[in-house]
């Protein structure tokens, strides 16, 4: 295990811990309000942001944060209006995001293989500056997801009750959407935009097989997130496979085990009162 002392592995491990904590924390709210695929949508839109960054010669993460946040707010506004056409509007946004990203990249002279880094993740190439960006974003995400947990729980669990409680529901919804966008841009370096939603959702789905409370689900999901992210990085080196995909496969394996355990437990335990 001497390779664990390698600087790039250590940076990757720090990034894995940060993302492993942040993504499921936000994902818990998205799953609770049945927006499990919102992360996917934001990921699609973020691609346009990444491409814009390449084209403008600025940091792709910065432009991804901006474009993904705008996309997340748009998704939230469509959701809040609750129109039947919202479905189609979301589809436009998702595919527009991917197409916009690919189109912008093709405008860039000479093409850019770097795009693959963002599509599929490349945690092993995280440098010190990336780490600072990831750290700042992840801490911000965690402050919102944990610090506002009572308010966000209320809004996601029963939005109308939250309104009658006098909570600033539209503002909280926007905060959650932007937080999800930040999470997506943080996680894209680790598992890639195509798999980013998995890191938001799969640990939560695994945790709730075995939990009965919201706080417990969130805590367990964050633990699972850290374990699979770190496990993916550690195992990817000797196995010589991409850590991003390995992390997601590990998360799905944990989900499978948790489902199995839940099935066994429910067979033993009589139905609740």
């Amino acid at each position: 295990m001497s390779y664990l002392a390698l600087p790039f592995i250590q940076k990757a491990l720090v990034a894995a811990v940060l993302v492993g904590l942040a993504a499921p924390a936000v994902g818990t709210y998205l799953v609770q309000r049945r927006l499990a695929l919102m992360g996917d949508g934001i990921g699609h839109v973020a691609l346009t942001g990444v491409a814009l960054g390449f084209l403008l010669g600025t940091s792709p993460v910065l432009t991804a944060v901006i474009v993904a946040s705008l996309g997340a707010i748009a998704i939230e506004l469509v959701r809040a209006r609750g129109k039947a056409s919202g479905d189609v509007a979301l589809a436009m946004l998702f595919y527009g995001g991917i197409a916009g990203g690919v189109l912008l990249i093709s405008l860039e002279p000479g093409g850019n293989t770097n795009l693959l880094t963002y599509l599929f993740g490349s945690i092993l190439t995280v440098n010190a500056q990336d780490l600072v960006t990831i750290g700042v974003l992840a801490v911000g995400v965690l402050v919102v997801a944990i610090g506002l947990r009572r308010q966000l729980f209320s809004v996601c669990q029963d939005e109308e009750f939250a309104r009658v409680s006098g909570l600033p529901v539209p503002l909280l919804n926007i905060v959650l959407a932007v937080t999800a966008a930040l999470t997506v841009t943080v996680a894209m370096r680790v598992v890639g935009l195509l798999l980013v939603s998995a890191l938001l959702v799969v640990p939560v789905a695994a945790a709730q097989q075995l939990t009965r409370g919201f706080a417990a689900t969130m805590t367990a999901a964050m633990a699972i997130g850290v374990v699979v992210s770190v496990g993916g990085v550690v195992a990817s080196y000797p196995l010589d496979v991409g850590p991003g995909s390995l992390i997601v496969i590990l998360a799905i394996a944990v989900f499978g085990l948790a489902s199995l355990a839940a099935a066994v437990m429910s067979r033993r335990r009589p139905v609740a009162v």
């Binding site: 009572r150 996601c156 029963d158 009750f161 009658v164 006098g166």
Partner: protein, 260 residues
């Protein structure tokens, strides 16, 4: 403008849903300590009226005031406990009874403040009132419909409201939970809480009720004291007609079952 001591003061309220007018100039008042029930057939507008009172449905005409403050300026939501119609279609992530009830303590709370002893005591009290304290750690999805309804009532009580607004708390609720809800409301009204409750039928709650208002087609069809005998309107959940001559008879069947 009438300035009043009414806890709820609705004047000429009109509202529409999806462009379709639902309420047509409804007046309603609720005085401190009063228990008023809203009755009416499905689609008569009674749910829309309470939703308009708490600001969930915009008014197209008229005014609503809570505790003497116009709804548009009202901010003291901690005084209002709202129990929506039960729609606990299992949300994506499990939540315990206590977690849901704790959501009733958020009115007027600054963000990032600790959940203190007073909050915990209020949540414990609310769980006691509805008789669910032993189930506090259980996931709500595992409860019966009636128990889930009691969770929603406890959530509203956790804020220690002066006004309780309940939207059909007794529908689809088993006998045990009905009895628990009646007992809970008895305790609250005994302590001086004002109650506005939408009901399909008066049923077990009738001894508590000071006044009833019947809506038909979005208009007030009858206002008066409740009938003394709850058995009188057992079959009255389809339609209501104003009583022929003063008095109490709140009900008659739309199918024409002969009732004098």
């Amino acid at each position: 403008m009438r300035m009043s001591d009414h806890i709820v003061d609705v004047l000429g309220a009109s509202a529409a849903l999806g462009g379709r007018p639902i309420l047509h100039g409804v007046d309603l008042t609720l005085d401190p300590g009063e228990v008023v029930t809203l009755l009416g057939a499905n689609g008569s507008g009674k749910s829309t009226l309470v939703r308009a009172i708490v600001g969930l449905v915009p008014l197209t005409g008229g005014t609503v005031a809570l505790f003497g403050t116009p709804l548009t300026e009202f901010a003291d939501w901690a005084r209002v406990g709202y129990v929506p119609q039960r729609v606990m279609a299992a949300s994506g992530v499990p939540a315990t009874v206590r977690e849901v009830v704790c959501a009733g303590r958020l009115s007027g709370r600054r963000i990032f403040t600790r959940f203190g002893a007073a909050d915990r005591a209020a949540v414990d009290d609310a769980l006691d009132v509805v008789g669910l304290h032993p189930l506090a750690g259980v996931g709500v999805a595992r409860l019966s419909g009636g128990q889930q309804q009691r969770v929603l009532i406890a959530r509203a009580l956790a804020g220690r409201p002066d006004l309780l607004i309940l939207d059909e708390p007794m529908s689809g609720v088993d006998a045990d939970s009905q009895a628990a809800i009646v007992a809970a409301l008895q305790r609250m009204t005994g302590a001086g809480t004002s109650v506005l409750v939408v009901l399909h039928e008066l049923g077990q709650l009738s001894p508590l009720i000071d006044r009833s208002m019947v809506l038909r087609g979005g208009r007030v069809a009858y206002v008066g004291t409740a009938p003394p005998d709850p058995a009188e309107d057992r079959d009255a959940d389809h339609d209501f007609h104003p009583p022929v001559a003063g008095g109490f008879g709140l009900s008659s069947s739309p199918l024409g079952s002969a009732r004098p």
